[in-house]
Symmetry: C2
Subunit: 95 residues, 2 copies
């Protein structure tokens, strides 16, 4: 029984590290989007684009998490990513 | 400029779908852990194990997100996963 638990925990650690890598990869892409947008004077936050991303989550969700739960989590990830862009802007102002 | 934005957004959509898949994969593993633990009468929530997972996040974080931000996000993912086990228990009680 304990071996089975250990094996599942090893799987979980592996998934956690993949998630960590992907969340940071996402952060880098959002930083690049922020740079492109700031050069062309576009606003960082685009509610239509955010809605579209949430719709894609809903379309592709196969569970076990329900779509509401996942959309709530993704909204937080979106918010954190926008926070990264703000940090970049603040650094740019300080240069 | 718009092509560049489109390309970055396509990358972001791709990362979102991978995240969605991994979060759900994580949910399935946690459900299995819940089953194993419930058979052996162990408690679902293990603060020592959670601390260890958060330490692993800290060790492997290469940014751009800071470790505090990521640990806060992961704690929420852990919480949601425990919620899945509760749903399973509730269903089992209803059978």
């Amino acid at each position: 029984m304990s071996d089975q638990l250990d094996a599942l925990r090893a799987q979980l650690d592996d998934v956690n590290l993949k998630l960590l890598e992907l969340i940071n990869e996402r952060g880098k892409i959002v930083q690049k989007i922020g740079e492109v947008k700031s050069k062309s004077g576009q606003k960082r936050f685009d509610p239509v684009r955010e809605r579209k991303m949430l719709d894609i989550i809903a379309e592709h969700n196969k569970g076990p998490f329900d779509t509401d739960t996942l959309q709530h989590l993704f909204k937080q990830i979106f918010q954190l990513s926008l926070g990264l862009q703000e940090d970049d802007n603040r650094k740019a102002l300080l240069v």
